[in-house]
Symmetry: C2
Subunit: 293 residues, 2 copies
Amino acid sequence: MPTHSPRSWSSRARRFRPQPDLAVSALVTSVRSPRVTAARRLHKRALRERERAFLAEGPQAVREALASTNEVRELFVGRTYAARDASLVELARAHGITVHDVGDEVVAAISQTVTPQGLVAVCEMVDVTLSAATAIPLSLVVVLSNVRDPGNAGTILRTADAAGADAVVFTTESVDPYNAKCVRGTAGSLWHVPVVVGADLAEASTALRTAGMQVLAADGEAPDDLDALLDADALRAPTAWVFGNEAWGLTSEQRAVCDRTVRIPIHGKAESLNLAAAAAVCLYASARAQRAR
Amino acid sequence: MPTHSPRSWSSRARRFRPQPDLAVSALVTSVRSPRVTAARRLHKRALRERERAFLAEGPQAVREALASTNEVRELFVGRTYAARDASLVELARAHGITVHDVGDEVVAAISQTVTPQGLVAVCEMVDVTLSAATAIPLSLVVVLSNVRDPGNAGTILRTADAAGADAVVFTTESVDPYNAKCVRGTAGSLWHVPVVVGADLAEASTALRTAGMQVLAADGEAPDDLDALLDADALRAPTAWVFGNEAWGLTSEQRAVCDRTVRIPIHGKAESLNLAAAAAVCLYASARAQRAR
């Protein structure tokens, strides 16, 4: 790796001089510039947590981030994207956000997708505490316990938003919702629904029950199925749905802190449903039951 | 790449001598052996279609393939997997299937997953014609029109199986169901539900209507939502669900060959649902409506 190319030298030499915000933009010409290095550090969970920041890639995520009340710290825009669509850049500048106009290779270096979409925002984390999330009247909540696949977690958060959920709780053992794949999977819903990170399942269950909810655990081995609950009108009550690990589901200790386990009926020969598909069925069953006259 | 290593020389020298089936196994010692090369060709759709064969990876898929009436042509088993579990290998041998005991690196070379699971089967394709699929009494059918993501398609096929669907139809523009990611996403359901490949949407719609089904297209812009159809008891009838492309949905021409479009209600701020989540909601709504007393 050339360490003395004019580009990196120039960015390294200048970085120690304090610069007003607008001038910062001019410094980001190289993939080795300090702002880019700082953004790339956010690929790692521990460094995201230290900075309380994460990366949002692509126009959809950036639009949702800009529309939310949570701070967008800076925006990197590649030349090709900027030439095609200036609207988000203008919106960001109108919000007073530092925009770095950079080469496509700089955005690609920050990006974690195979086909970078040309813009990446450094965003303030959005999660709230369990007590804040449970302080409002709750009808529908999702708890992800040991959910490890970021794509599944992101899709479930998006489905929870669509089904009108009031909060999504990630337990300590679950994937980080700020993981790039998860952020992408949420398709913007990360900014729509209050998210709790690093909760303990037993504590979350207690808090949700105290808030007047029944805590139902989706479990392929449960004696009662979803149709039985619907027939008994048991989904009309405020409900928190707990979904477990993709491979092994919920442990007996995890099931024990829930009020009831529920299985989705399998009418064909499939052994089980994909977790995100199962969550969609449960959440929409609740949404419909709660809205029925 | 060494072209004259003893291993590859030995397999090349022997491959022209005809061998009885059991002896074939001894030939597969190198990633460059003819059987391995032939199996790796199945990574490409055109070559899969020429051979009418595809690859099934991992114990779950191999178990389902062996349990089905469709032929398994040969099975590659890595040493580490074979040492851990012999049951599937024994089952395959009992069925008279040629089993190649190979090094882990050979299975890895045939595998298309990041973490190969140690066994790969070469399987006969399972798809049936549209007329065969529609010749039986039908209650629930899924049509994938322009669905391009193999993970989505595989998950929908798995959900269709779980919901008790009678067939899944892939139109010409959809992803190949024998794509490795799709096969993996089906979690075995590829061998459970009759699958039609390369159908024309208009022809499929006509055939399904002739078979007594209503053809409903899932469409975010539709005037009626799923709850309205459930309230009107309109999902009790035999139903074919058409799902369109992940990004742009269905074109007006595609919608025109369906009886009706239906939208899933969005109660929160999400713009839309992930396609596989939407399919899960629609298919389970139909499954419940059709089974209601």
